[in-house]
């Protein structure tokens, strides 16, 4: 067993739901107590598996939202139309329930404070989740690494972790946070109000000469257009790390 763990064998395990946090009307965080959780790095994900009484199974990947330093594991899930897994996680899951999962998974889309910075994070919609793990990790590590977040949401009500991002950015070593609201903006909105583009990134991203590492996560077209724009701004392709959601099966 110990040897298997060293070799990296993924084993399904159970986590107990200790808290459900409604982040927006369509997004919920699930906080889990997982016995013998081996720890994770910011940016990794877990696979969640549901099994029906007749044995039918459905499996999805969810990014870890909590920092490695946090005592409990948290994932954040978006409710998708007709999503067979997300609709269960929204409609049926209760505190005290057990959820089957395995992980942590992944190693490419990962940031550790010891790697230094500066750090550029660009998120679209629920693509913020692994980036939030990085920001929480950065904060827990003392916040000495410069960090900027460019975060695209449809409307103010769709901004996930809104209060926490506000608090983080108000801190003395806090990240700089730039919001853009693509579909509707409240009266008096002073942030951006369009899709992330090269002009916006030239105003918000670290200059290419800063040797920043960039992480972007969101729907496939979002991630690919942002990555292309950053390379046009002079970021080396190797310092631009992407995670595409693709067509989430829900």
């Amino acid at each position: 067993m110990a040897r298997a763990a060293v070799l990296g064998r993924l084993n399904w395990t159970l986590g107990e739901v200790t808290e459900l946090i409604d982040e927006t009307p369509r997004v919920r965080s699930i906080v889990l107590d997982v016995a013998n959780w081996p720890g994770h790095r910011a940016g990794q994900h877990v696979d969640v598996r549901l099994t029906a009484e007749d044995g039918y199974q459905a499996q999805r990947s969810y990014s870890i939202a909590s920092a490695p330093e946090d005592s409990r594991l948290a994932i954040t899930v978006e409710l998708l139309p007709d999503g067979e897994v997300s609709s269960y996680l929204f409609g049926e899951l209760r505190r005290g329930d057990q959820l089957e999962l395995r992980g942590p998974i992944g190693g490419y889309f990962v940031w550790e404070a010891s790697k230094g910075g500066p750090l550029l994070l660009v998120g679209g919609g629920s693509g913020i989740v692994p980036l939030m793990s990085m920001l929480r990790h950065r904060e827990a590590a003392g916040g000495s690494v410069g960090a900027r977040l460019v975060y695209s949401s449809r409307s103010l009500d769709d901004v996930i972790y809104r209060d926490e991002l506000q608090e983080l950015s108000a801190g003395s070593n806090g990240p700089e946070v730039f919001h853009t609201l693509t579909r509707s903006q409240p009266p008096g909105w002073t942030g951006y109000a369009r899709r992330v583009d090269g002009a916006m990134l030239s105003e918000t991203a670290w200059p290419a000469s800063s040797s920043a590492t960039a992480f972007m996560c969101g729907p496939t077209p979002f991630v690919e257009s942002v990555a292309t724009a950053l390379v046009l701004l002079g970021y080396p392709a190797t310092s631009v790390k992407t995670e595409r959601f693709g067509p989430t099966g829900g």
Binding site: L7, G8, R9, L10, H45, D47, S61, R102, G103, I105, G106, G107, Y108, F109, P219, T220, P221, K241, T242, E243, R244, F245, G246, P247
Partner: protein, 89 residues
């Protein structure tokens, strides 16, 4: 193949690849036999909507790796990859 929105990347198949290789391989580099491009597996394009999971070169779209999952086994094919570098710790 123009994948459009069905395209994800190597990160999305990290769990399946870890089942197959019994270790984390998204940071492992893979060499394309089509154009010679070398990238970490996590940076390559992945398609997961087919019966098998397909990893394609992000530069030229050549099929690097296919994983077909069946009850009790995984079948791994390397149609057009030259090598994979796997760390030994």
């Amino acid at each position: 193949m123009e994948g459009g929105e069905t395209r994800t990347d190597g990160n999305a198949i990290a769990g399946v690849l870890q089942e197959v290789f019994v270790r984390e391989v998204t940071t492992s580099r893979i060499a394309c036999a089509g154009c010679g491009n070398v990238e970490p597996i996590g940076a390559e394009h992945a398609y997961t909507q087919a019966p098998g999971i397909v990893l394609r070169c992000r530069n030229c779209d050549t099929v690097l790796l296919v994983v077909t999952q069946a009850p009790g086994r995984n079948v791994l094919a390397f149609p057009r990859s030259r090598w994979i570098e796997i760390a030994t710790d």
